[in-house]
Amino acid sequence: MSDPAIRVDRLHVVRGGVDVLPELSCEVAGGSVTGLLGPSGSGKSTLIRAIVGVQQVAGGRVDVLGAPAGSPALRSRVGYMTQAPSVYGDLSVRENLRFFARVLGRDAASVERALADVSLEEYGDRIVNRLSGGQRARVSLATALLGEPDLLVLDEPTVGLDPLLRRDLWELFHRLADRGVTLLVSSHVMDEADRCDALLLLRDGKLLAAATPDELRAQTGEQQLDEAFLRLVEATG
């Protein structure tokens, strides 16, 4: 496999006097869909924020697509979806996307493509505040897709979505990966783990495992991935 798209080396992050990530090292392979899994409070969002370069770090190193995380050169190559839908609630879906498209230097066609990718074509003229939580999350996801980034970092993109939509989105993620895009997708539901090429399991700011779903099954002797996760937690005490 080629050089990793993300390389995290002994990352140390302190938030509010607490070591959220004491010393984390991991890698994400290029062109893969990697799941970042762990219970809420395990440090997933903090790791994601460090990868997109908006988190103050106390030590260690994060390299993204060959450059230090947060480098100006990465700003047009990395798409980021925050955990809370960070779009303007008082604007329509299309107004939101057009604004971010202008910032990214993209045309109106990319707005329509992003809308289609998240199946929101019919909601383009709706005010975001009047949409459901899941629809709002999809507007936020569409924004991350706008710039056709090489790396997509998505913080819990499928929370609150119905199973059909979730399946559609995971299919979209794999289509993107087939085109060479690297995706790092966080989730706190283990049933999404099976949809990933590779998994990073996080608990209390520490990496429990970095493996493919099949490796994880073989390692723990459990068929269900949530059971496998439990085994790992018990094994590490």
Binding site: G16, V54, Y80, T82, S86, Y88, G89, F99
Partner: protein, 244 residues
């Protein structure tokens, strides 16, 4: 700084305002109402109305835009949209200048409507050119916007942001020379008023109203412009790409 991006931000802020017609109605209607009340209270030809009318017209945009900008920016900080923008290829000054341009345009509308009412129907008279008063009102709006952007960094909630208005704006209003001439103030108050930008904004307005467009007027305008730049620099310093 990229003009395309700056304009995109300005346009978006204006779109958000357009979605909130009640706020626009208040921004334009309240100063009109106050000018009307002032005229009714003291009478059309009274020296008080003639003395206070023009500065009120010129200083009101400062208050409005300070408040509106600090809240809009606070929302941007707390909703995560600022964090998202900070991961995109845009300069911090694009965000600040975009806000400044949007609220300056709104101030042009506000100052024009209020001045049409005050100079037209209400009989307010100034010795100097009326357009200078309107232009100063717009400059004060930009000053209010940039200060609002800066102080929004120190508020965690909208309640706090609203309280910055009396805290930052009222002392400047009291000491700017409108209520008591600066020469007649206690020395320590005069010193304090000397570091307030609104003092120079008021002085410029008073001179414009008295048709005294002299060197002192030019200095006042230069100081107000300098304060806008300073507030922008301070505001940019509060926009962090990386946060804790």
């Amino acid at each position: 700084m990229t003009p395309r991006v700056t304009w995109a931000v300005a346009r978006r802020v204006l779109q958000q305002l357009r979605r909130d017609p009640r706020t626009i109605a208040l921004i334009i209607g309240v100063p009109c109402l106050l000018e009307f009340l002032l005229q009714q209270l003291f009478g059309r030809n009274s020296p008080v109305f003639q003395h206070v009318g023009a500065p009120l017209l010129g200083l009101f945009p400062f208050v409005t835009m300070f408040l509106v900008t600090s809240i809009t920016m606070l929302r941007e900080r707390t909703s995560g949209t600022l964090e998202r923008l900070m991961t995109m290829p845009l300069a911090k000054v694009d965000v600040l200048a975009g806000y400044g341009i949007a609220f300056a345009l709104l101030a042009v509308v506000q100052a024009t409507v209020v001045s049409l009412l005050a100079f037209g129907l209400l009989g307010l008279e100034v010795a100097g050119p009326q357009w200078v008063v309107v232009a100063l009102a717009v400059a004060n709006a930009v000053l209010g916007s940039t200060l609002g952007l800066f102080v929004s960094a120190f508020a965690q909630t909208e309640f706090q942001a609203v309280q910055f208005m009396p805290a930052v704006v009222f002392p400047q209003f009291l000491l700017c020379g409108l209520f008591v001439a600066r020469d007649e103030m206690a020395t320590w108050l005069r010193w304090i008023s000397a570091v307030f930008p609104l003092t120079y904004a008021y002085d410029a307005l008073a001179r414009a109203a008295a048709d005294m467009l002299d060197a002192r007027f030019a200095l006042d305008v230069a100081i107000v412009c300098g304060c806008i730049v300073l507030a922008l620099v301070l505001g940019a310093a509060t926009l962090r790409r990386r946060t804790g």
